[in-house]
């Protein structure tokens, strides 16, 4: 990798939703069967770029998410590779049963790429902040669930999804994240990665919280503790091997997600640990509460989703470890 130009501040930031839009337009050139649907949010989800270039392969269904999922299913049955986008709250909440009955039950080749996941939606408030989409999608058989942690991972995952045969849910975010992968990064189904080695505790995050985990590891290092950091971007199928290896090696885990602490990453990791190798775990996420209006940073602080919160959870896990 060449040196970054001096004008670019490190770390560079990219928005996962914008990068989705970019790679989608590029894939549109490469794969003539790709079609795109949106429900009146194309400017926000990132699909506008594709819509401008491939006018006859873009379908705005208006504010009708249920119809969008069904239409996408029909396009898939007709041999197309549909990408359907709207906000995560509407994709998974309004249209859950359409995804369940037609797309997942039928194992149809529909790619649902939902933007504005989590509380960093910010000012729009709790009605628009999806804190349950991962739980709702994770329970559906046949569906792959992905949460990229930066621009390169978004591009790699969307590229992978374009040729994978089967339904995929991918969550993007409103705010940009620091770039942590380079452009040689490729995605492999069911495979997650260690971003930083450590021995005292494991910090496992998805999406934005991967970056909070990395910052938490820095905080812990200052206190003389060494944390392994995982990016569990492939939430389903989950990389059980990596989780169990981390449990054996570090003896305790903290999961961190911009989502309810119930039903998402924290629960998925708990399921693996409980069944195969129980070690202390703490779940950083929203605790039985909805989001609210505010700036993303204010909300992350209010709901306990900062690097400090993760490092505190890590210390609690290490204390429990030592008592075991």
């Amino acid at each position: 990798m060449g040196a970054l130009p001096e004008t670019v501040q490190f770390p560079a930031k990219e928005s996962t939703r914008v990068e989705y839009g970019r790679i989608l337009a590029q894939l549109g050139e490469e794969y003539p069967d790709i079609v795109v649907l949106d429900a009146d949010l194309s400017g926000s989800t990132g699909t506008t770029r594709f819509a401008k270039v491939f006018r006859d392969r873009f379908f705005n269904v208006g504010i009708a998410e249920q119809d969008m999922m069904g239409t996408a299913a029909g396009l898939a049955l007709g041999g197309k590779v549909p990408f359907a986008s709207t906000f995560a709250i509407f994709a998974t909440g309004r249209a859950w049963e359409q995804i369940r009955q037609t797309i997942a039950y039928g194992n149809l080749n529909v790619k649902i790429v939902a933007s504005h996941g989590g509380i960093t939606v910010g000012e729009d408030g709790g009605s628009h902040q999806s804190i349950e989409d991962l739980a709702l999608m994770r329970v559906l058989p046949n569906l792959v669930v992905l949460v990229p942690a930066d621009g390169p991972e978004t591009r790699a995952m969307v590229r992978w999804a374009a040729t994978y045969q089967g339904p995929v849910y991918l969550r993007t975010s409103r705010i940009p994240f620091p770039v942590i992968h380079d452009d040689t990064y490729t995605f492999e189904l069911g495979r997650s990665h260690i971003l930083r080695e450590g021995t005292d505790v494991t910090l496992a995050g998805i999406g934005l919280m991967v970056h909070q985990c990395l910052a938490a590891a820095d905080l812990l290092a200052k206190q003389g503790m060494s944390a392994r950091v995982l990016n569990l971007s492939c939430l389903k199928p989950l990389d059980w091997q990596l989780i169990l290896d981390s449990a054996r090696r570090t003896g305790g885990l903290v999961t961190a997600e911009e989502h309810s602490a119930t039903g998402g990453l924290g629960s998925a990791v708990s399921e693996v640990l409980t069944e195969f190798y129980p070690v202390p775990q703490k779940r950083v996420g929203l605790r039985d509460t909805f989001g609210m209006s505010g700036k993303p940073d204010e909300l992350l602080k209010h709901f306990g989703l900062t690097a400090e919160d993760i490092s505190k959870a890590a210390l609690a896990v290490m204390t429990r470890k030592s008592k075991n």
């Binding site: 079609v35 006859d56 392969r57 379908f59 269904v61 208006g62 009708a64 249920q66 119809d67 969008m68 999922m69 069904g70 239409t71 996408a72 299913a73 029909g74 396009l75 898939a76 049955l77 007709g78 041999g79 197309k80 549909p82 049963e97 359409q98 009955q101 037609t102 039950y105 039928g106 194992n107």
Partner: protein, 277 residues
């Protein structure tokens, strides 16, 4: 062998399909008899005379598509597919049993000739739209057909799909509404009024046609007429009788989802057999 254009022959096929439906449901002990019998004549006309299909090759690329949006009428679809040769007729009598290729509601993973998973009402028209769009993108001339229930159109998604079909000028789509006037809890006019039907669909930009849903020649003529409409989707409002063909089932709310007793089954078979030419 197909298509069959002789209305007498089609009427005879419909009688045999009805016998199969009664037999399947009596043996399975569960399933939806009323809405299967109300749609029999419409679907016999559609499948045996009108649609392009290849039972030997269910994935034949130039086939027409059919979406059973009212998925609980699976028995009539299964009986038709079996008689067309998509799978052996004996399989009909495994309906709803453990390990059967015939699930309680349509599942394309299990049953040759079934295109779309349905059963949760209100979703099939959107899928039909997607199929119609895919055919348009590929510049193919074949068509998509969808059968809707009259209770089913109480689902809001139907009207989202009605807008989409019209917005995208899906003239390669024909929906058929099985207007049998009953739903599980009673008469549609008592549970939730759906009239004025034609005016609603017209207001959404559709070509509408009314037909006696038990007159095979009228159904065939209307299907043909709708196939010639350009620039907008078509819906055929088929006036039907729930449980049609078996007097004791006809227009009875009870026979929406309840299967006949042995006595009722014997009466039904006797009546359908006596209609033989």
């Amino acid at each position: 062998m197909y298509p069959i254009s002789d209305p007498n022959q089609l009427t005879e096929i419909a009688r045999q399909i009805r016998l199969d439906i009664v037999e399947m449901l009596y043996r399975s002990g569960s399933g939806h008899v009323g809405g299967s019998l109300s749609a029999t004549d419409v679907l016999v006309a559609l499948f045996f005379s009108h649609m392009h299909l290849d039972p030997g090759n269910p994935c034949y690329p130039d086939r027409d598509y059919f979406v059973l949006s009212k998925g609980h009428a699976a028995p009539v679809l299964y009986a038709i597919l079996a008689r067309l040769g998509f799978f052996p007729r004996e399989e009909l009598f495994t309906l709803r049993q453990f390990g059967s290729s015939l699930q309680g509601h349509p599942d394309p993973k299990c049953t040759p000739g079934v295109e779309v998973p349905t059963g949760s009402l209100g979703q099939g028209l959107s899928v039909a739209n997607g199929l119609a769009l895919a055919l348009k993108i590929n510049q193919r001339r074949h068509r998509v057909y969808a059968l809707l229930g009259d209770g089913e159109i109480q689902e809001g998604q139907i009207w989202e799909a009605a807008m989409t079909a019209s917005h995208y000028s899906l003239d390669n789509l024909t929906a058929i509404l099985d207007r049998n006037r009953l739903q599980i809890d009673g008469r549609t006019k008592e549970v939730m009024s759906v009239e004025p039907l034609a005016a609603k669909w017209q207001a959404f930009g559709w070509h509408t046609a009314q037909v006696n849903g038990h007159s095979i020649p009228d159904i065939l003529a209307t299907l043909k007429e709708c196939g010639e409409i350009k620039g907008r989707p078509s819906i055929i409002i088929a006036q039907t009788t729930k449980g049609k063909g078996v007097s004791i089932f006809e227009d009875q709310v009870r026979f929406h989802g309840v299967t006949p007793t042995t006595e009722e089954y014997e009466l039904a078979v006797k009546e359908l057999q006596s209609m033989s030419r």
